[in-house]
Point group: C2
Chain length 630, copies 2
């Protein structure tokens, strides 16, 4: 046996053995080629990346850094207090792209921005333009809202991406110096500080993985353990907003600001992976289960409330005023990926898939240059679905960095083989723990169809396992291996596992049934009582007004035995079905009357399209949940 | 004929003849004696008033004024930028109470606070502690959010209350000096300013009514006419938030911040009443109609959104996240009262009644010392219903001033007689336009029952009309006059009108049927699809968890032919009925499944109580809308 060849690590790289059931593949071991995600990764590079670069320039995020680097501390800080973090997320995306496919302009962006950051960094390692421009006395005085540790987190992730994707460690040096400053200030025996916006925890664990320096892992766990003691104070929305109302291990469901809660859980799983502290994993598993069951939209969106960008109460899931922030969807993907690595259970890949197809994919417009911050499940009228930028621009560069590293979130390996969690066209070329090379090509147009064909392109004479996720929503699936067809029966973790001595050219065909599904909400979800939603495979469908010339979306109703038929129009997969238009009797006065409201009814044919495609045509009403004809 | 005796005017006193169809009675011409509103007015005086006094002291609102009066401009301003307005609303309430029933401590509060305000006022008339404490250069620089004109409005209303209720004009002098400063700055040909938070418009019209000074009316109409030209800029929530997105006459429904929109409309009707500009009245009537039909809760609450305290889209009426600010309910009462005066149409009294019984009455706890700011129609779990104060404390003193002048909002007169809009126990002793005295006693326990008895206690030998509102929700009503019973048939304005030559001791008995009503929402209100609500008379009912030992409120369902039976328990009127508990099958994972959700069902008897009484017992879930058994 030969030692495994060195590969470049991707965005989440557990170092300790024995805690993670599955391991990620190397960054360059999976290559997307077209298909749903390959096309989006390409658009991310060609359209989104230059757009974000331009916007960061225009919004002043880079100007802040230049002012500090030039020593001009009298310049006014532009943009939000966490403006630097948007630069870091962009930089992380640029690094992943440069690793995927080098280009001179990406290389230039990485190197000049690294130089800029080095120049902007203070002698003591401090680096946060929101406080470097302005009164120096304000540094570290507002850990609740100042976002300095949050910015450190994103800087660190960008630096790790750069070193992993390109091998350049200049940015890592900057990140380590800032992290060391944080260790000095908040490490063991020092000030009992903690960040109001979690994110640095996961970054510090990754920094430990990258550098081997124990102090970063220690600081991450300190930040986790300090929560829930009221150290942050209550602020405008109370301590639950910051997940500081109780210790991290004592939460039974996610509360407060959704992105904060999800990033925090992400850091907890990372800390578990390196420390083996199962109380962290157990807590996150329990919290995730409850959050999934009571605080998650059918799209996978999370965080219902506009006011404080927070999870609401259990079953508080309004479709029209859904907040479902794009960053929360991204954070949920990051969390479920870590839970998948930690447990090997397909249910986390199912959850991840839901958020990928119905939040992440929905957040960017077809042009790659307009983005949802909020991802509503209903719109009552016209209005732009996606602006091209935001004053609080956390989401677009977050999409950028995720899509730039998308291939790292699809496939894993363990001692005995390789697991395909998500079906995407491309190639896999990796090695098992014992050093054996395994490689195969994946051909699929999933989720348009449920067929995925795998052709073995690298193997030796000894057996290994190919595990294929059978989604929980799948009513049935079949496998064709070496000419024989049989039902694809998932094991207890949710995978159909083929263990064989493979030969080059062996073909595996997985056919997952993708009939349209009519989804009924849990009866406690008050906001969508008396409605159903449509899905096909992992894709949730919606109705857009533009497709219904004969019906106002406000007045449609469907039968309980609705039978949608798959179709295709204008480049979109559709579901088409008979329904009713109920035109309410015109009334004045208050809209509450004794007796069932009267209406005139007429039949109509309706057309649903994938929710991820909404808002790309004529602006108008949109709805996922379809009222049932009472 | 003798001239009408001079009476003290109440809170809304149109001066021009011919524009108002109905005129308010004098402040002392209606006296509440017990009953629903008499008891609440009493509690307002004995519990709420001293509580608000104490809270304003503790919160620093009075300290701000004392600091400015003492010339200590280095003191830090405490509380919100509009902190002074809470003092003015309190002062207005104190004045109305002193007029109703003099007391030395009320007199002292009025006089010492007047002295304090006089001392705090600048030589040029300016008076706003938020800007007097702090940089003087900031005055009048932020009309969008600075609230200086809003504070002037409330000061003016307090001053008018004082002069009308007690005859003292010291406060009026202070208000006129500040108003004159505003005329200097923003009057004809001066700076084109306007307030970000309307309120001063109605106050300036009243100031014109009180002083006869045309310039105040002129400034009010200028402020109205300047709206919709973008002069305020867009701010965080856009110009519609400030009703500055289009001219006031061009809005077709209310938009933006609900209290702002309602106060603005209030000023528009007042301006109409004095100028005869029917385009103002027409616009408000159209806006109100649309707002009532599409943006009003079954409680009369208005303004759905937490984020910007705003009206949402048409039919966006979530019960759990209802904002329905108390101040918006109060503002809607002020608006519908003015519309009632202007038009004489009972429908506005109906709307007013809805908000009075289900928002205003619901906002204060039984103890008179805890208040709702937000008035939700559903709560899923425990938690205090009403805090005893708020950082933004606009609502409690607003309740104070309304309830202290409550008797002024019940009865009107016109040339030919008197109109009873709201049935409340007490006495009426007034005069008609020709000077004739008419007086009667009202005996009723409305809304507990629908019976109201009126005994004539003052009349002469000539005929006059007694008009009794027949609420639109009433299925039937009967009148017994001088021993004869007949159906109470409303005229086209909504009143049963009795025109006769009355004799002292004549008795009229009105019996309005109050059977329980099952209310169905308009099918476009997505958030309450598949539910019904219960009402009896003007009172909306709710279920509180504390009354249902055998059912979790999250799991109840009622039949479409629900027949609630009136009852009484623990001092509360109830509606009791058979229903079902559906315990959902325990499921993990996402709460969306193919197929109708399974549940175990069992019968249960449920008890509803008036919504205005909610939250006074053990904290727990509460809901107005009851899911229908599918």
């Amino acid at each position: 046996m030969t030692a495994p060849p060195t590969t470049r690590l991707g965005p989440v790289a557990p170092a300790r053995t024995g805690t993670s059931v599955l391991l990620p593949l190397g960054l360059d071991e999976v290559v997307l080629r077209g298909g749903f995600w390959g096309d989006r990764q390409r658009r991310n590079r060609t359209a989104t990346l230059p757009h974000v670069t331009r916007q960061l320039e225009e919004a002043g995020n880079l100007a802040n850094l230049r002012a500090v680097a030039a020593g001009d501390t009298t310049a006014r800080h532009r943009n939000m207090v966490f403006a630097d973090s948007d630069v870091y997320k962009w930089l992380e995306g640029v690094a992943w792209e440069q690793g995927r496919e080098p280009a001179p302009e990406l290389q230039r962006a990485l190197r000049t921005t690294t130089d800029l950051l080095r120049a902007a960094q203070d002698d003591d390692g401090y680096l946060d333009t929101a406080f470097q421009l302005g009164e120096p006395g304000r540094r570290w005085t507002d850990l609740r809202s100042g976002h300095e540790l949050y910015c450190l987190g994103h800087l660190t992730q960008a630096a790790i991406a750069d070193v992993r994707a390109t091998g350049a460690d200049g940015l890592l040096e900057v990140a380590c110096r800032f992290a060391d400053r944080a260790v000095d200030l908040f490490g063991p025996g020092r000030r009992e500080g903690l960040p109001g916006h979690p994110e640095v925890e996961t970054a510090l664990v990754e920094l430990y993985r990258t550098t081997g320096e124990q102090r970063y892992l220690e600081l991450a766990t300190l930040f986790l353990d300090r929560r829930g003691r009221g150290l942050l104070g209550s602020g405008r929305f109370g301590s639950a907003y910051y997940q500081d109302d109780r210790p991290v291990r004592e939460h039974r469901a996610m509360v407060g600001h959704a992105v904060r809660a999800l990033y925090l859980a992400t850091g907890m799983v990372d800390a578990y992976a390196e420390t083996g502290d199962t109380s962290l994993l157990d807590a996150v598993v329990a919290q995730w289960d409850a959050t999934l069951a009571t605080k998650t939209y059918v799209t996978g969106g999370q965080g219902s409330r506009h006011l404080d960008e927070a999870f609401g109460e259990p079953y508080e899931l309004p479709p029209d005023r859904a907040y479902a922030e794009t960053c929360a969807g991204i954070a949920s993907v990051m969390l479920t990926w870590r839970l998948l690595l930690a447990t090997g259970e397909a249910r986390y890949a199912d959850d991840m898939e839901r958020a990928l197809y119905n939040v992440v994919a929905a957040s960017t417009a077809d042009d790659g240059r307009h983005f949802c911050y909020v991802n509503p499940l209903q719109r009552r009228g016209p209005g732009p679905a996606r602006p091209d930028w935001y004053e609080c621009a956390c989401c677009p560069p977050n999409l950028l960095r995720l899509l730039a590293s998308m291939q790292a979130y699809l496939v894993t390996r363990d001692a005995g083989g390789v697991q395909l969690h998500h079906y995407a066209a491309g190639t896999v070329d990796t090695h098992l723990a014992d050093g054996r090379r395994v490689a195969f090509a994946v051909d699929t147009d999933y989720p348009a169809s449920g067929r995925t064909t795998i052709r073995i392109t690298g193997t030796d004479e000894s057996p290994w396992s190919l595990a294929l996720r059978i989604p929980a929503w799948a009513d049935g699936a079949t496998l064709r291996v070496a000419g024989a067809t049989r039902p694809a029966v998932p094991d207890r973790r949710g995978y159909a596992v083929l263990t064989r001595t493979w030969r080059l050219g062996d073909m595996v065909t997985l056919d997952i049934d993708l009939p349209p599904r009519v989804l009924w909400p849990h009866p406690r979800i008050d906001a969508v009582r008396g409605t159903v939603a449509l899905a096909r495979g992992p894709v949730v469908y919606c109705l857009e007004q533009v497709d219904q010339p004969d019906a106002d979306l406000a007045d449609i109703a469907v039968a309980a035995d609705l039978r949608p038929a798959p179709g295709r129009r204008g480049g979109l997969d559709t579901l088409e079905f008979d329904a009713t238009v109920r035109v309410p009797a015109t009334v004045g006065g208050a809209p509450y009357r004794s007796g069932h409201p009267e209406s005139e009814e007429r039949p109509v044919r309706l057309v649903a399209v994938p929710y991820h495609a909404w808002g790309n045509r004529e602006a108008g009403a949109m709805r996922i949940w379809l009222p049932l004809r009472a």
